[in-house]
Subunit: 195 residues, 2 copies
């Protein structure tokens, strides 16, 4: 059995989130025995992304330019600034078709256990961005998880101390749900926020 | 949001076994935002493995040489040839400390649904290897799954037609198990093969 080159692949694969040693072994075996084209494709794609992808100077999302296309789009409503955790969350909002404003992407969330603090989510940059005269409303669209809620809370407090008001996405019953299958916390929030 | 370079990474990650689109997005985000060293390490390790790793000319396992160290080891018992599915299975047998013979690694198993046939597992090479005068026993150590059993069955039949006998690893109750937690099929086999 080869050691160094194979073990190096397994070690590198284990750095992927959610990949343990057994998964890494299976992935390495698959790539090197059954999908060498895939291994080449992954290696090249990573190199290309490392040199091409950076963070947008205005909103922090992934981009291959100085400023991303969304931030540069004159058709977007510059009075709305929506704060999300990740490019994936941003994409989910775009798919909803219900938002035409701009974004600020935290590229993470506050998580002391993972070492993610105010600096890591770009809180200062967000404050500067939210204080621009064009912005009339900041919408906090972090996840409705413990860490996402805390992140939204800290951002809302900090903005308020600068006299900037923010709103939060509504909590409630997901469209298409039957009530009996919705968890109690969601129903409690939907009751409290009834309109 | 960047499209091409980021999407290329996500597409490449989806070729890994067990990785769907959500996992691939999470992995790409992690690598490009929080672990660029890890992305570089993975890319380089894959390139190195692609150029360094090949299949042993004698046993088919991964090696960086023409013939692997195990096949070249004069201390191994050349009269025993153990047939396993993968380098990981070979490593498991090595860890057991109970085997000092040589190996033939199928690098897969018969699986018509996945397009794995006799040629893909190197059945002809195995026949030639098992027919060498030094080999007195072929031990079939494929998995005790449906596909592993069928693979062992086909190999045993083919070897028998050439007058070569083979044995199969014993089925039975795993060491350290309490009987009440062992599945019925295993107990039935352990009863049948009692000694």
């Amino acid at each position: 059995m080869s050691e160094s080159a194979l073990d190096a692949v397994i070690t590198a694969l284990r750095r992927l989130p959610g990949v343990g040693v057994k998964s890494a072994q299976r992935m390495a075996f698959h790539l090197l025995q059954h999908d060498r084209d895939g291994a080449e494709q992954l290696s090249v794609a990573l190199q290309r992304a490392l040199s091409a992808i950076r963070n947008c100077a205005r909103c922090q999302t992934f981009t291959e330019d100085e400023v991303c296309r969304t931030c540069l789009d004159p058709a977007r409503d510059a009075s709305l600034l929506c704060v999300v955790e990740s490019p994936a969350d941003q994409a989910a909002l775009e798919r909803s078709g219900g938002y035409r404003g701009l974004y600020f992407v935290l590229m993470g969330r506050l998580s002391p256990l993972d070492g993610m603090g105010a600096r890591d989510i770009g809180l200062q940059q967000l404050l500067a961005r939210a204080a621009e005269p064009a912005v009339s409303e900041v919408i906090l669209a972090t996840s409705f998880t413990a860490e996402g809620d805390i992140t939204a809370h800290v951002i809302a407090d900090t903005l308020r101390s600068r006299g900037i008001r923010s709103t939060r996405l509504a909590r409630g019953v997901p469209v298409g749900s039957e009530l009996e299958h919705v968890d109690a916390g969601t129903i409690a929030h939907a009751l409290h926020d009834r309109r």
